[in-house]
Amino acid sequence: MSRDDLASFREGALAAIPVCVGFFAITVAFGIAAHATGLPAGEVLLMSAVVFAAPAQFPAIELLPLSGQAVQILLSTLFINFRFAVMSFALVPHLKRVRTGGLMVGAQLVTMSTFAVSFLRFQRRSDHDNFIYFLGVAIPSYACYLLGTVVGYHFGVRIPAGFDEGISLIFPAYLTALLAAELRERRSIVVVGVAFLATPVVETLVPGWGLLLNALVVATAAIGVEAWWESALPSS
């Protein structure tokens, strides 16, 4: 790894600190919940390692101890994690020069958090070091995710009262701050604002799909409006 690569990796790792804290807190809760269901430690850690998506893991640990739930678990996992396909698509233009082997490894590390931090950086500065930066964000985050699972399962550490409110807000606050600090283009700011406000409406209409469906609808509407706006402008 060259000195430039190391600097990019370090830049990503620094940006991942709030992600790590958030992941650690979430997976400690996951480890505690998994321990309570009676699942063995090895299976719980295996799930965190191969799935790496807490929203799909929480329902799965409730259903896993019951028999005959395989289809339901697998289908709910695919539906819940479908958002990763959209995120991977969005990363493609920024990871063009990466070899297939690297992409195959990196793919496992795409989550909402690692995607969001990397994507916002690529909007500001998309460069040859994109993949190294992504790995800098994702590898420490993945390690924190696994560590939190182990700590939660074996030690049952609970977050002190009064701090849970702050810890649960670390990652949303970080993303908000990243958007506020980085976003300059007016149309993208409008998309962010509309998507934020429309989320509770879509979530109420189609419970459980607020995140993905809302994003698809808002983005499609925005593209339509943008195309109409550009065609309506008098050509010079």
Partner: protein
Amino acid sequence: MGERIAIILAMGLGTYLLRAFPLLFAHRLSLGPRILRWFQFVSYAVIASFVWFGFTKGASPAGTMGFRVIALGLTILVAVRTKNALLGMAAGIAAVLILARVGS
């Protein structure tokens, strides 16, 4: 036990394929500027929705929600003024912790 491990591995494989397929094969498609722009908008919208869920999850409408709205506003204000995301986040988190303590 063997069945549970098989289910966990299948969960992982399904999730991995969702993540990997676009990364491995989408470059073969020639995506036009309009499609790329759409993905950019989708990404921003997903992040904005995620922020909404993060800020509202577990908050009671009358209680902590008010603190969180103030924290969100302060986060944006500090981040815009300083152009520093970590500082913006710290201001928002500090605000919500202080307000929760004062309000309890």
